[in-house]
Amino acid sequence: MSDATQFTPRGPRPRRIFSAPNIFLYGTLTVVAAYYALPLYVMITTSLKTMDEVRAGNIFSLPTQWTIEPWIKAWATACTGINCDGLSRGFWNSVRILIPSVILSISIASVNGYALANWRYKGAEFFFAVLMIGAFIPYQVMLYPIVLVLRAVGDFFGFQLYGTLGGLVIVHTIFGMPILTLLFRNYFSSLPEELFKAARVDGAGFWRIFFQVMLPMSLPIFVVAMILQVTGIWNDFLFGVIYTKPDIYPMTVQLNNIVNSVQGTKEYNVNMAATLLTGLVPLVIYFASGKLFVRGVAAGAVKG
């Protein structure tokens, strides 16, 4: 204790919390964060107000009289055209579109990425390059011919493909392929090659190495791919409009039809409840997945 050196200051000078730069820094960030959070807040509060209060009040105020009536109405009885069974129909349609699309697109892309990373063949690089370029072609260019392709393939096999769930699943698989293939190819390339070689020497083939060596090691990348696909497919509007019929419209399309319908009086609280319901699935995934989501969205920026 008597040692004088103990009391001489060491290390960097501690930054004061209330220094001018800090106030500026945290002040700016708080204002920005408030701005970004505002729409979510407005959605939630509006959806919990009665219509009288929405008309009279301030959109930024909290509800004085809380009600969950708009949520029930949005889910069960809101009308789109002749159907008055609310968004629940769209929700279940979206679920029915989502599950097979996610499974099919990830299975195909993971095997494809594995083939591109570990089992290169002549021409593989060319097809991969075109696949990457294809990700940038505006969808509008390919929409109509794909209708014809779906019809032709459906006719060939003797069942309806255009306008059905199956057709939409195929379309989602096609347009998810570039980004997912890139994701899986990069991941499998980053795994140590010795593992692959050891399995080869032991006599394992293409599928065996995939299922017994690669798959057990790549759970994180499958989660990233799943996050990417679930949010992407859930949020899709364009393909839902073009490749399905009103009975099986996904939730986003139905939401737009409910909110932007010109008939009847506008019930803004119900509209906001419906909007929030549609955004709930990706929001839950986003807040639950944390950094994995960032990894997923940044995948597009990773160069192959």
């Binding site: 820094l25 945290y26 960030l29 920005v32 964060a33 701005y35 970004y36 959070a37 729409p39 407005v42 959605m43 929405v54 008309r55 301030n58 959109i59 930024f60 195909i108 494809n112 083939a115 089992w119 063949y121 593989a124 075109v130 696949l131 990700a135 072609i137 505006p138 969808y139 509008q140 260019v141 390919m142 929409l143 109509y144 011919p145 392709v149 392929m177 020497v201 006599g203 083939g205 293409f206 599928w207 949020n235 899709d236 509007f237 364009l238 986003t252 939401l255 737009n256 909110v259 803004y268 906001m272 909007t275 549609t278 955004g279 929001l283 986003y286 944390g290 960032v294 940044a298 920026a301």
Partner: protein, 341 residues
């Protein structure tokens, strides 16, 4: 290599003797979906649309080689068999399916298309500039070793998880002049305050821009933050030793070093801009009037509503060209750089 089992060894030898096409067969089989997608969808469908944009297809695509007689001249000649005269018709055939660049002429003569292109230009320019500036600024702020970095990042990025439809509908509500920001400010006592971008044909594009930026800047921020973090810590030490202010270090040293990240961001933002569709549908459906039309809306209406397919094909071909103009310099830059390294 020690192969104990002779059966394996002979199998390997047989394997090697297989014809080229059959080698690596499992891998090729696994790639069938990719090859089919590339050939049929990305190459096939794109070419199809470009070709049919030169036809007169309306409700249905016309057969490409539908022909009609252009002229027919009877030519008399002697029949060899019995010496009598006969006539042979010489006909000129004209393929009537193709109408040259008519669709494009009509496209550029349509007011709605011109408005669409103008809107896309304004939206694109503003969206690109603001995304990069805001994205980089926010990333730089988050990079200052602050507390709650994760919380701030989570809040700024969450809109990116939402669909354009949800984004458009929320902002339609907030910008609603009778209930939204305009009313709140008026209630505060500013009776003449006007803020109704979605109902004003001069400013409607900026109303869409507000929503678009809210949705997309979080992603740009994340890309930029990753870029800033990737820069060598020694650069910072050196600049501190030299006494360079922090902001100047960012502008003069960090930004030039982040060129690849900026290029990637520009490409990602640019590809998104050309596709903008859902957001406009949800927010304004192209209105008021035609003042917030976008090329993608024009294409969709021509193809699926107005039964004017070829016009839609022509418009979408122009969209494709726009993307190519953005993309080709980027690809050139990328490959050029790789060669130098």
């Amino acid at each position: 290599m020690t192969v104990a089992d002779t059966g394996t060894a002979s199998a390997t030898r047989v394997h090697r003797r297989r014809p080229r096409i059959l080698r690596n067969l499992a891998s090729k089989t696994a790639s069938i979906p990719m090859v089919a997608t590339v050939l049929v969808i990305f190459i096939g469908c794109t070419l199809w649309t470009v070709i049919y944009s030169f036809t007169k297809s309306r409700l249905l695509p016309v057969p490409l080689f539908e022909t009609m007689p252009l002229f027919s001249i009877p030519v008399p000649h002697l029949l060899a068999s019995d010496g009598s005269w006969d006539f042979t018709l010489i006909t000129g055939l004209k393929s009537s399916s193709f109408v040259g660049t008519d669709q494009y002429d009509r496209l550029w003569g349509t007011r709605r298309w011109i408005v669409s292109i103008g809107n896309l230009g304004i939206y694109g320019l503003c969206s690109m500039t603001f995304s990069l500036v805001i994205g980089f600024t926010l990333a730089a702020l988050l990079d200052r070793k602050i507390r709650f970095e994760n919380a701030f990042r989570t809040i700024i990025l969450y809109p990116f998880a939402l669909s354009f439809i949800v984004t458009g509908l929320v902002w339609q509500w907030i910008l609603n002049p009778n209930f939204g920001i305009q009313k709140v400010v008026r209630d505060l006592g500013f009776e003449n305050f006007v803020f109704d971008p979605l109902y004003n044909d001069k400013y409607v594009v900026y109303g869409i821009l507000i929503a678009g930026l809210w949705q997309g800047t979080g992603l740009v921020m994340c890309l930029m933050l990753a870029g800033i973090r990737g820069i060598d810590e020694d650069i910072w030490k050196a600049s501190r030793v030299e006494g360079i202010p922090v902001w100047k270090t960012y502008v003069m040293i960090v930004i030039p070093m982040m060129r690849p990240v900026f290029v990637t961001s520009v490409v990602i933002i640019g590809a998104g801009i050309v596709k903008v569709y859902d957001l406009v549908v949800a927010q304004t459906s192209g209105g008021p009037g035609i003042s917030s039309q976008m090329p993608a809306l024009y294409v969709m209406d021509k193809m699926f509503k107005d039964q004017n397919l070829a016009q839609g094909f022509a418009a979408s071909t122009v969209m494709l060209m726009t993307v190519a103009i953005i993309l080709i310099p980027w690809a050139y830059f990328e490959f050029g750089r790789k060669k130098n390294v």
